[in-house]
């Protein structure tokens, strides 16, 4: 008994000294960093594979990160939707359809709706088109209370079909030097770093501030964690969900433009199957599928980790016909690792 007495005083200490920073905070921050050790391990492993190139800036920037920028934006979009307690599978089809529509109206072989439209319309049209899809999803999910999973699944299928119709099974190619936004997104560099990377850094920075330190951002967590409690606390639950769906769709549309810019074309299958990787990155990064939990920084580390894995696999000369199977396995391992290092259940 007597030896346990100190323990009991320890237990009460936090109450008596309200000024003491709680351990919890540090712990929560630590969980955000759970993927840093595996990322470092991968960097080291990559270095042992190709010591001369791997850790150079040009390799990391132009071979690893540049290819993750679109994925990163879509993961951010999906993370927002997951945190607010919903699902959006249609994001991957927006990645394809939004640039397809915008580019088609500007330089496509059509006279529909008074096309060709001026090329400056590509960016706003893509964003507005994305927003409209988000708005419509919101209408069905929020107003008519349909299941987000099914609504966005149907939307995914419908938009895929629409894209095939527009692009006609082929590819709108040779965009270089025809659409300024596409040129800039594709090749402009600031301080030798591609614009797309800057954009991702900026958007994530903004997202982290908004989610962590603004009223609307925090309300996403409240709504995702317990919509009834959020409503009783005066949060306009429906509006928060709706706005989140629209913002996510716009982010996906922008990611689509970046992808088209990098490839110099809009393929009929642009964005296809991306959603699986998006969910994998988000969950590995600590976003809960149940809503209310997770951070954008965590999601970003999830993206980086997956990107590194892919590159390291290529460097390790895994055969192309095996790479997908190996990739799937590695994602499972990454999930297990993330579970072990963060110590919390993934749901």
């Amino acid at each position: 008994m007597s030896e346990q007495t100190d323990e009991r005083q320890e237990d009460q200490a936090p109450q008596q000294k309200p000024g003491r920073p709680a351990n919890r905070l540090k712990l929560a921050k630590l969980r955000d960093l759970a993927l840093i050790p595996p990322i470092i391990a991968l960097l080291i492993y990559g270095y042992t594979l190709k010591p001369d190139v791997f850790l150079t800036k040009s390799y990391l920037v132009d071979t690893v990160l540049k290819y993750q920028t679109e994925l990163a934006l879509v993961v951010l979009a999906e993370a927002l939707v997951l945190i607010v307690g919903k699902f959006d599978l249609s994001l991957e089809s927006i990645v394809g359809i939004a640039p397809a529509v915008a580019v088609f109206l500007a330089v496509g072989n059509t006279s529909m709706l008074g096309a060709p439209w001026p090329t400056w319309t590509v960016l706003p049209v893509a964003l507005i088109f994305g927003a409209l899809i988000g708005l419509f999803n919101g209408l069905l999910i929020v107003r008519f209370k349909l299941s987000a999973f099914i609504v966005t699944l149907a939307m995914l299928i419908a938009l895929r079909g629409l894209q095939l119709a527009i692009v006609g099974g082929a590819t709108i190619s040779n965009l270089a030097n025809r659409v300024p936004v596409i040129d800039n997104l594709g090749s402009l560099r600031i301080l030798t770093i591609p614009l797309s990377i800057w954009i991702v850094v900026l958007v994530f920075g903004l997202g982290i501030v908004v989610l962590g330190y603004t009223r609307i951002g925090r309300s996403l967590y409240a709504v995702g964690g317990n919509p009834d409690a959020a409503r009783a606390a005066g949060i306009r639950v429906e509006r928060v969900i709706w706005v989140t769906l629209i913002v996510a769709a716009m982010l996906a549309a922008f990611a689509g433009l970046m992808l088209s810019a990098r490839l110099g074309s809009v393929a009929a299958a642009q964005g296809q199957n991306m959603i699986f990787t998006v969910f994998a990155a988000a969950v590995i990064g600590g976003i809960s599928l149940d809503g209310g939990k997770g951070s954008l920084f965590g999601a970003l580390t999830g993206v980086v980790l997956l990107g590194l894995i892919q590159n390291v696999l290529t460097l390790a000369e895994v055969k192309p016909d095996q790479i997908q199977a190996v990739n799937g396995l590695v994602i499972l391992v990454a999930l297990v690792l993330a579970r072990l290092t963060s110590g919390k259940a993934q749901d």
Binding site: E7, P14, N23, L25, Y213, R218, D228, G234, R236
Partner: protein, 502 residues
């Protein structure tokens, strides 16, 4: 009691910590066959943690549990535990989407032909069970549609129907009204005569005296004393719980009468919710606490929900002179109405968010410039609430889902107070709160209203109603009576209970 008897359950040296929090340091308990054993202690003393260990749901860090002298089954052996102990947990444990019948016979559904489940047998077994327990619920209703009272009755009936001879009840009465409690106690007495043993947890000490033979007190995660109730009067029991000898204050005794010409802060004119309650006129003046008493079916809770904008309603509501838009919580907040919901587990808090986040949820716009939320401000507000309401937590960053029931309730109160409202609408504010904390919660209401706020206190607990300056009684959707402070309690109870007969 006969010391030779083998205890039905015996726990020694049970310890459990969660990270830095010591939930239980020295849990000890010994319950003799046939007795009803009380377990009391302040919020966060470790009672529910011990229950978790006794029912095999929590793995203790240390300690030993024995049933009838035999070592407890291994943690994986659920059937083994169920044979020894049944439990009604503090948090609801029904599956909302399943019907009452399916909940009652979860994983032990009666089988029919070919070994397949038989829906008709299930229905019949469930209605028999519900009838036996006089639970006025149809077996086909989805569990999520039950009221708190019905849900608890279903859980209690379910737990008892497992046939275990030892039943744990973790705060079964916290959200039941007087009649239901009386009914429950009758059942318990009958069962006790048949040799069933109970462990009964409650913050209502009179209940402990009414039905328990012996009582165990926990304080600060450890066992303090076990004694026959006859040898411990309320003062001694309270002293053991709070660790110092100090009499409980009788709250509200010294409230001065509110002047008749005091400015109204909340005015209800012809406010009605269709099918629930008929037009109500009610005025709360500055400095006044108006109680609304009534049973679960009286519509009192719905009245509160209509006032705060959670229900659509007809009629006019003015807060501090400003007309409030119907069915808009943000507008009611803006008009200066603060709200504490009646069932914290439903819409009281977000369990995956921190104490700080939950307490400031209603005032997220006041935590920094331009819609920014500065964690420093947020934590400061939370620390103040923690200190004011005496919340047992490791700090503003602890998740509310990890708090004990009563401490979570205090967080919900803090949330209601955070917006600095002109008028507080409180529904069952002290549910599951320990004696001392009840004092501090009601004390807060008392003090806040003296500072020129008003409060509408919806409750069926006499202790809550005692602080009110005025109490109106609702029966079946109508206001039937009004009393000034100092009302005769028996009369009030009779009026509240008149309901079932209407």
């Amino acid at each position: 009691m006969d010391d030779e008897q083998t205890p039905v359950v015996e726990a020694v040296g049970v310890a459990k910590r969660y990270g830095p929090t010591v939930a239980l340091a020295d849990g000890r308990l010994s319950v003799l066959p046939g007795e009803t054993h009380g377990l009391v202690g302040r919020n966060g003393a470790g009672k529910s943690t011990l229950v978790g260990v006794l029912t095999g749901l929590l793995k203790p860090d240390a300690g030993d549990v024995r049933f009838n002298g035999e070592p407890a089954p291994s943690l994986g052996d659920r059937a083994g535990w169920r044979r020894n102990v049944a439990c009604v947990y503090q948090k609801p444990s029904v599956v909302g989407e399943l019907s009452v019948a399916e909940n009652l016979f979860l994983h032990r559904q009666p089988r029919g032909r070919f070994g397949l489940l038989s829906p008709s047998k299930l229905r019949r077994a469930a209605s028999d069970l519900l009838e036996e327990w006089a639970v006025p619920v149809a077996p086909d209703v989805p569990a999520k549609e039950l009221t708190v009272e019905q849900r608890q009755l279903v859980e209690i009936a379910g737990a008892l129907s497992h046939g275990a001879r030892f039943v744990i009840l973790d705060e079964p009465t916290a959200q039941l009204e007087a009649r239901a409690i009386a009914r429950l106690f009758d059942r318990l007495a009958t069962l006790r005569e048949q040799g069933v043993t109970f462990l009964f947890i409650s913050h209502h000490l009179p209940e402990v005296y009414e039905i328990c033979q012996r009582v165990t007190v926990f304080r600060d995660a450890r066992h303090v004393v076990t004694a026959p109730v006859a040898e411990m009067d309320t003062d001694a029991l309270v002293a053991a719980m709070i660790g110092e000898a100090r009499e409980l204050v009788r709250l509200g005794e010294d409230r001065s009468p509110v002047p008749a010409d005091a400015e109204p802060v909340l005015e209800l004119e012809n406010v009605a919710v269709q099918g629930i309650f008929e037009p109500v006129d009610l005025t709360v003046r500055r400095g006044e606490i108006v109680g609304v008493a009534g049973s679960a079916a009286s519509g009192k809770r719905e009245l509160a929900e209509a006032v705060v904008g959670l229900r659509s309603r007809t009629g006019t509501i003015r807060a501090a002179g400003r007309t409030v838009r119907p069915a808009s919580v943000p507008d009611s907040l803006k008009a200066g109405i603060g709200y504490l919901p009646g069932d914290r587990n439903v819409d009281g808090f977000v369990s995956v968010l921190s104490v700080a986040e939950n307490t400031t949820m209603t005032v997220a716009d006041r935590l920094g410039p331009a819609g920014l939320v500065l964690p420093k401000h947020r934590d400061a507000k939370a620390r103040k609430a923690i200190a004011d309401l005496d919340v047992h937590t490791s700090g503003p960053d602890q998740l509310v889902g990890e708090l004990s029931g009563g401490n979570a309730q205090k967080i919900v109160m803090a949330r209601a107070l955070a917006s600095d409202p002109d008028v507080l609408v409180l529904v069952q504010p002290t549910a599951g709160v320990d004696v001392r904390s009840k004092e501090s919660l009601l004390g807060a209401v008392d003090a806040e209203t003296r500072r020129q706020r008003g409060a509408l206190l919806v409750s069926d607990e006499l202790e809550d109603l005692r602080v009110c300056d005025r109490v109106v009684v609702m029966v079946a959707g109508r206001v039937v009576a009004e009393h000034e402070r100092g009302f005769a309690e028996a009369e009030l109870v009779a009026e509240i209970e008149g309901i079932g007969d209407v």
